[in-house]
Subunit: 226 residues, 2 copies
């Protein structure tokens, strides 16, 4: 049973949406402001968020960026404004779909179902990378070595993921910076070394003789294949 978090400051709306979603067989949580929504996501890990953009205090867009910083949770945006730009901005910031107020509850339910279906389908695909005894769960952003979970920071995870997606391929430092930041500034290239060091500390049994992330002298690094 999927869990949905509904975020809106108007009680009338949350109640209406809750009714319809529950009737469609989903568990529903509610929050009435941005901080509450973020706390609820962290605590209850719902499968989807329905978010009103017109919240008091923290703007809905701030909430989406905040959520996106630490998770890939699907978001459906509710907005009173129908202008194209708002729509684009919402999607740009990582919303998966949007519904314009006033909306029909049935339409909202249909969209929630559609997004959940889409996400589930994506989940079913190869979003888990297995190599030797290391497992990378991409949507959950979790890494396991043997049976032990490993805590990686966001940057560390992105680095490992980038390399593990093409095992054996050699990446230069600036390619790796590119993958992590979108843009590479040469002066920082040695920062990659520091990250690799920290990743190895967490991942490798013997960091002096790395089994996963190997150095290619004069070029960069690579994730071991085979």
């Amino acid at each position: 049973m999927p869990t949905v978090l509904v975020v809106d400051d108007e009680l009338k709306i949350t109640r209406l949406v809750r009714d319809y979603l529950e009737r469609a067989g989903m568990a529903v949580l509610t929050a009435s402001d941005g901080p509450g929504a973020i706390a609820a996501v962290r605590a209850a890990r719902p499968d989807l968020v329905v978010l009103d953009l017109g919240l008091p205090g923290m703007s809905g867009l701030d909430v989406t960026t905040q959520l996106r910083r630490s998770s890939t949770i699907p978001i459906i945006v509710l907005t009173a404004r129908s202008e194209e730009t708002d729509r684009v901005v919402g999607l740009e910031l990582g919303a998966d779909d949007y519904v314009v107020k006033p909306f029909s509850p049935k339409e909202l339910v249909a969209r929630v179902r559609a997004v959940l279906r889409r996400v589930e389908a994506a989940h079913a695909g190869a979003d888990v990378i297995d190599a030797a005894d290391i497992t990378i769960d991409v949507p959950r952003r979790r890494v396991t070595v043997g049976d032990k979970a490993v805590e990686l920071t966001a940057t560390e995870f992105d680095l490992v993921l980038t390399m593990a997606r093409r095992p054996g391929q050699v990446f230069t430092r600036s390619q790796l910076l590119d993958a992590v930041h979108g843009v590479a500034f040469e002066s920082y290239e040695r920062a990659i070394d520091a990250h690799v060091k920290n990743i190895r500390r967490k991942l490798e049994r013997d960091p002096r003789h790395p089994r996963y992330i190997q150095t290619v002298y004069g070029v960069g690094y690579r994730f071991a294949d085979a």
Copy 2:
């Protein structure tokens, strides 16, 4: 050497950008208005366009749509306006990246590099070279003879790759130095001999009678064809 077209009506800016890009090893063309930009793209076929959105006459956005009508050339947009919507609109119209004025030239160079790299990576076909019983896996930077993996240093790999890409073609020592160092470095040409020696030791079954890297007396070396 990639060619970049810089479009801006302010001479100060084009000159600044030209300086930085040229120092980064790129050829630079400039145009000061929309029609000029479109003509320059058609005539000189640059690899990338840096385009100021605030042009007199024809708007920068018109230029991007015009360019997009007939080509997929990468575009980086320069904009004085920092509002999200403009950014979104720019990207929406097919720009590959955007930089907000005032900008740091180093950042612009970094972004140009990143976009070029991205495009090149997408283009990259023929990633593996097969010749007789030698295999060169370019992204993995690995060489196999028969079934045996061969460990080459970065320079050795670049040398083999350079020659293997054009089997049969004879390369002078200074051409090979060029390929390895990027620039025409007046250096000891016999260094190539030393590398060839080391490569043969690793690659050839009988280094006295090389099957892959052959000496062309009085000229240089070549990678055996067929």
